[in-house]
């Protein structure tokens, strides 16, 4: 504890010393950011400078970021794999859910909610280059839609489509899709992650070149990855993969 006290005091003093050199809050000039903002509309016909920075100017960072998420999902699968055998035992004493009147109402509400949430997610993903939002945010919303269906208790539908392996596949496809679009840039335009589509009309849904495509692949990847993570942590046997007991 004294080690930490000493270290924290020193670190605090040093941080203050360093932070004092930053421009006063609100006075940042930031030539780089301003340049990117001013290139967004004329050169990419998109309206969200953040989305274009994320997926076009600095697309490689985002590629890495998607694969970090992908790594985490695979990592969670690996780290919790010893669990499932246990959970079968642990979950058994828990009474199987029998639908009561209440839960039936809940279920219909949640199922009814799932559809609009799905639409919202799709909207956020597809408008990423125009308005705030994009593949990541939309992907999490899409994931929530699936989760709602499960939380409502109607997990039979999900079990039927073997979600975990499907979701693992989805995240793989989404992540690889991003990289493939990057390779497409090499073949069709000349550089990795270079845009190879027309830019369309500013403000249109189909504009901004490959940015919307990248948003879609990120959306799929994020949805899959987070469903895998949450599904693993949810400790439910309904998420049974092929080959597991």
């Amino acid at each position: 504890m004294s080690v930490f006290g000493l270290g924290a005091a020193g670190t605090a003093a040093l941080l203050v010393w360093g932070l004092a050199g930053l421009p006063s809050f609100g006075d940042f000039e930031g030539a780089y950011g301003q340049l990117l903002a001013h290139l967004t509309v004329p050169e990419r016909h998109a309206t969200s400078a953040v989305a274009v920075s994320t997926f076009d100017f600095r697309g490689l960072d985002t590629l890495g970021e998607e694969f970090i998420l992908f790594t985490a999902a695979v990592g969670v699968l690996v780290l919790l794999r010893g669990q499932r055998a246990d959970e079968t035992v642990a979950a058994e004493p828990m009474h199987p859910r029998r639908p009561t009147a209440d839960s039936r109402t809940l279920r219909s509400i949640a199922t009814a909610l799932a559809a609009p949430v799905l639409v919202l997610g799709a909207y956020v993903v597809s408008h990423g280059h125009l308005t705030p939002g994009g593949g990541f945010q939309g992907g999490v919303i899409l994931m929530t839609a699936f989760l709602l269906v499960y939380l409502a208790g109607s997990h039979l539908h999900l079990a039927a489509i073997r979600p975990l392996s499907a979701m693992e596949g989805a995240e793989g496809v989404g992540a690889a899709g991003f990289a493939l679009i990057g390779v497409g840039g090499i073949i069709l335009a000349g550089a990795f992650l270079e845009n190879f589509l027309g830019f369309g009309t500013t403000g249109n849904l189909v504009s901004g070149g490959v940015v919307p495509l990248l948003n879609v692949s990120v959306g799929i990847e994020v949805m899959g990855a987070i469903l895998v993570i949450v599904g693993e942590l949810l400790d439910q046997r309904f998420l049974v993969r092929k080959g597991d007991r």
């Binding site: 930490f4 050199g21 490689l60 695979v74």
Partner: protein, 603 residues
Amino acid sequence: METAPLAVAIPLLGAGGLAAVATRLGRAGAEAVALAAAVAVTALCVALLVRTGSGLEVYWFGGWEPRAGTAIGVSFAVDAIGAGLATLVSALMIAALVVMWRYRETEAPHFQILMLLFLAGMVGFCLSGDLFNLFVFFELMSVAAFALAGFKVEEDEAVEGSLNFAVTNTIGSFLVLTGIALVYGRTGTLNLAQMGGALEAHSVDGLVVMAFALLAAGFLVKAAVVPFHFWLADAYAVAPTPVCLLFAGAMSELGLYAVARIWFDCFAGALGPEADSLRLVLIVAGSLTALLGAGMCFAQDHLKRLLAFATIAYVGVFLIGLGLLTAEGIAGAAIYVVADGLGKAALFATVAIIQHRRRRVSELALRGKGRALPFTGALLALGALSFAALPPFGTFLGTSMLEDELVATGYGAVIAVLIATSALTAGAVLRVIARVFLGWGPAADRPRATEEETKPEEEGAPDSTPAIMFVPAALLLAAALAIGLIPGTTEAFRTAAERFVDGPAYGRAVLDGVSPTGLATASSYSAPAHSYLYAALGLLGAACAAAISLFVPGGRWLRTPARLLGSAGTALRGLHSGHVGDYVAWLVLGVALLGGSFALALT
């Protein structure tokens, strides 16, 4: 010309593809895909290495070339040092994938997916020319490494080791991120080359010093420099042995690479006038790390922990080389990194064989159990000689160059640290050989309960070593020897280092597309006579250390010093408590110490 991006894209595509078709491919398929990807990446990296030579290859992603000296997109800026490290990483990855072909501890295809992601992270990290992009690949490599370290979740140690690894290294990456925020607030750019110019244009103040201190601290957590080192032995001891090949052979060194990269390309322009005092700080930190690592290495019984502490010791040595802040120091460190990385990887591969054959990794428990494995013992002996920096191993050239440069900069006394490190680490391995393969030394009266074998022997130890495990270890050692024997290596390393330290030329090449003026190939290096003397001294020291620990458990005249030394050792071991909160407390203190000494040194 698409070599650099493909070197990262191929493993990523491989990983994504494996996940997409996971259940249909089976184990052999996953292994084949992973191996094919690793071979392809190695080929691309070798091509990059050959092509860069003494130059610099810049690649702009998305085709966003800089406009009027302002970078727009993210760049890879590849020089021979970066390409060389990437080559080392991918070659070790091939070796690891081959060794684990028969490994039971791994589960396809997730293990292969994680390995490919780890590879992509490390290669991207070596090639990137953008500070935030460096962070992204750093994080990719870290997250994959956390999962790999904890892969054997059925073991208590693996869970705890991976947890300590993940918590400390994540804090390290927050330090890096805070440093990035500071530099971006000052310079308004993330491109390393542009950053160098912008920092130089402004007067030096607390922000610049702290930005460098935070970035360095974050990367040094990964490199495991004292007192950031606590997590390393925990993580390396528990990771599947093939993964250790990569952890010990390359990952730690990548942290140092990043520190050198940001120093020469970003901060040297602004902080260069104070380089002399910085040199002192880095050399002291390196010496402490080297001595502590070597001492703890010698005190270990668990073979993987022993090699893990040897990794820390050599990180210290490399930090001394980097800390010289000269081309010659970088050249020496680089040649040492490659030779030692191959040597350590070979040692871990040999430990994998021992584990495969005898199902345990505790030195005392293995006493005399290696008599029937002469070839494995021979591999271990060669590894020990590589640690001892004996000619003609590549490590000898590395130490010799460092020794010369230490004398030239007035730090001749530090040579003693290099010799002590060689002697203790080599001595530890020699002791293992004597005890395990020759049965020397007293039998253990009480094997330590905490260092139990990984699996009970009864499980049926196989009675032969598969060639697939033996050959990679032998090849790695052969490569470590070849570095020291092939004529022309020293010239190549010296030329590469000259290019690496030339920050202004890097800046012009990246931003203005001016290809750097051709460097005259540096002259070849031949070790002076006293280097041979030092090497002999190191080997002698190693033999003595091994003999004393085997045969002199406590003669009367040794008792008091031994007890003193023992209690100091116990206190030191007590600090390595496995408690993550303690590790973080030390980490914070380390940040304060490093930042404070940078503040004193650089203003």
